[in-house]
Amino acid sequence: MITRWLLRRLGRSLDDRLRTAPVLRRAFAKVFPDHWSFMLGELALYSFVVLVLTGIFLTLFFEPSTADTVYSGSYAPLDGSRTSAAYASTVRLSFDVRAGLLMRQTHHWAALLFVAAIVLHLLRIFFTGAFRKPREINWLIGVTMLALALFNGFTGYSVPDDLLSGTGLRILYSVTQSIPVLGEWLVFVAAGGEFPTEEMVPRMFVSHVLLVPAALAALIAAHLGILVRQKHSQFPGPGRTENNVVGSLFWPSYTMRTLALFAWVLAVTFALGGLAQINPVWIYGPFDPAQATSPAQPDWYVAWGDGALRLFPAVEFRIFGHLVASPFLPGVVFGGLTFAGLYLWPFLDRRHRRGQLSHQLLDPPREHPARLGFGVAVLTLFAVLLAAAADDIVAKIFRIPVLDVLSILRVLALALPIPAGVLAYLVARVLQASGGRGVGDLTRQDVRSVRRAVRARVGAGVGAVTAGSGTPPPQDWAAPADADRIELWRDRAGRWRWRCRGAGVLLTANQLYLSRDEAERAARTAYGDLPLREVEPPGGAVGVPAAMVERAGRVAGRTGGYLTLAAVAYWRSRRSRRR
């Protein structure tokens, strides 16, 4: 009771000075769609928070320097060895700093989860068409954040200056170097000399803890700001149109859910950090250009690049006398194409569909079989590349010669994506036609009927897109046909509200309006021309006696509380005086 009173006082005094109430009221009334897939981006956000929190801890103990030092600490096999300060401080913070290892491991696990959540979020956006107008800007920001996350993950993995990451750093150095003409200049500017340089660790550190996180924070702010400004997209469904958002209010419903998700992210990352060992640099040893450890792979989010390097044949050629080294095609060109494709996708997709309209309703993935098929094909290629990055482990476990593994994966990389894409395309068509909820609902008959339909269409040479038989196209879900009427009422405080009553749904608007006209206009915007009816306030008007009883009860409770407190205070003072 007292906290509530304090909060109210605080809120009022803030509002007096800053006029926060209208802003907060609007913020609290923001509607979040209820579908779980809208929380994937939040997973990435909260992983980022964990990264910042644990990262600050690590910064206090890490020394970003390659200066020669002698480690002395409780890790016996390293005690007395000469290593770089970066490596020595990493081992020291793992073994001699309380909770240091937990923080370091949590940081690393959170980094893996951060990028994984970004990728899942991106896939959701991609397959549901959420990148379409008006959300292209946010797609571009998101792809930029993905690139920054990859870069920051790589620098974070490399700063401890251990044997495994040093190998990866050497690869990145060579890949950059392989760019014709520019490469040598780039690596000299970035690394300050021939690999390995003394400047690399301090520079990566500055980029890892300052530049990229600051850029990420700014981009996250822009990402969320645009999201609030544009409002959420939503899946089609009863009562959902291009002009409204159906879901939960930010306060209190969604706040609780999102805080719960935050708590879960903290729990999972710290549990992994405490229970599962990650990147044991004390075992790998300090980096030495003359040494290597095998098997060696990078973290999963750059492993696709490593896999491409391993799979691609070593091709070297000359352009105008300049030797183009073999890492150029799989490293620079493939990586460049990947991100160029990601950046351009909203515009490619738009040109393809010739749609210049704004889209607030998402596509269920099956509604765009071609997009689904393309996405699945690309994903399959990347899955093969990820497997290729672990070819040495596959070879070791299955006792197959590593070159055979490589040959098999080369064949798979070429042969698998297109059939996988075609399969996804066909499944989408079958699902469209059968109207089933998921792949599990399909029957053989569904598959057969679509095959027949496809064959018939191919035979007739007609380019129509409607599916053979089955349910009407789902654009109709969003049409106001099943929304019966709009109900308007005036609440106790004299403000106007409205809700939409449809078949099986009852959707209450989140805004309050000062006049009936405003409420009516808002309802018309959301649902077009529906019959409008003024009704009694839902839940019944609160009668005067009931209100009085409520108020009297509250007063009685408060008085009783204060009296009890006073009595307790009196009793305690009496007792202390008696002593």
């Binding site: 096999p77 044997l163 999972v268 075992i283 450890t293 010669p401 070159l403």
Partner: protein, 304 residues
């Protein structure tokens, strides 16, 4: 696992061997009791570079230095079963000759001269024979390019007898090295410089060419590690004393013992110490799956 572990099968083998001494022909323990090794063809052996210090021809097969819970002769743990068996008496031990003729001669020849199926054993040295037998790689009952590490087929005393018998073929070769505790720090540095490129810095092993693997060192006893260092079994290069001094070998064996088990896994579950691949699988398969399940659950609680 230490060398002093007494495995039930080996205990049985020792008992059988003792009974055999008492009653006549020696029944062989389980592994070797089957048909005599069909083949010990050695994939890479003929073209092995002959660069080692000792003039040792290739060992009987192409294993690499892993090893098992065997009891090498210098290991005091083997002494538990020893009293019942007459101590090896050099090249004339009837037990060694008997076991050799039963389990080895069909491929390596009765005088160790080798055959089409297996290389000569003349001059391989006691360290090599002890390593192959002690890690259970020999005798093999099935043709394999690289016999895996197994439980040894013979008891410690039997191995000693066979080693002595094979040594009687002549030719010298590396002796079984004596190992003692060494410096952990030197061991770590030497291991990373000389061993990690194939056996991995974590000692879990890695793949080599043509399907050969540098095996995991998780079961190697100090003596077996030292033997492998000196002998260079399979594709492994040999490190004679001119390259690694005895104290340096002691240091390496000590560090390998530190790598064994999970003593160095201070961060929790080791995930096989396979590096970022398993870590990525755990991040996706456990971390992200769990969090997505949570998101789905929270989504289903909308409106509550």
């Amino acid at each position: 696992m230490t060398g002093t572990d007494t495995l039930p099968a080996r205990r049985i083998a020792v008992v059988l061997a003792v009974l055999g001494l008492a009653t006549g022909p020696v029944p062989l323990p389980a592994h070797a009791a089957g048909p005599a090794p069909l083949s010990a063809r050695v994939g890479g052996a003929p073209d092995r570079p002959q660069t080692r210090a000792a003039p040792a021809p290739p060992p009987p097969t192409v294993p690499t230095p892993t090893a098992g819970a065997s009891v090498p002769p210098t290991d005091p743990g083997g002494g538990s079963a020893a009293p019942a068996i007459p101590p090896t008496t050099g090249p004339v031990s009837p037990l060694g000759a008997d076991l050799y003729l039963r389990s080895c001669a069909s491929c390596h020849g009765p005088a160790g001269q080798g055959s089409q199926r297996a290389p000569s054993l003349v001059g391989v040295g006691p360290a090599s024979v002890d390593f192959q037998l002690g890690t259970g790689r020999m005798p093999i009952d099935q043709e394999a390019a690289q016999p895996p590490h197994r439980r040894p087929a013979f008891s410690a005393a039997e191995i000693r007898a066979i080693v002595a018998h094979v040594s009687s073929f002549g030719g010298g070769g590396p002796q079984i090295p004596a190992v003692g505790p060494g410096d952990l720090r030197d061991g770590r540095e030497l291991f990373l410089a000389n061993c990690a490129a194939c056996h991995s810095a974590a000692g879990v092993g890695a793949t080599l060419t043509n399907g050969f693997v540098a095996p995991s060192l998780d079961q190697s006893t100090p003596v077996q590690v030292a033997e492998a260092v000196r002998v260079g079994p399979g594709l492994m290069p040999a490190f004679p004393e001119s390259v690694l001094s005895p104290p340096q070998v002691d240091a390496v064996t000590s560090y390998v013992q530190e790598l064994r088990g999970n003593r160095l896994d201070r961060g929790g579950a080791s995930l096989g110490r396979l590096g970022p691949t398993t870590e990525g699988l755990v991040a996706w398969g456990i971390g992200l799956v769990l969090l997505v399940a949570v998101a789905r659950w929270l989504g289903s609680r909308a409106g509550e």
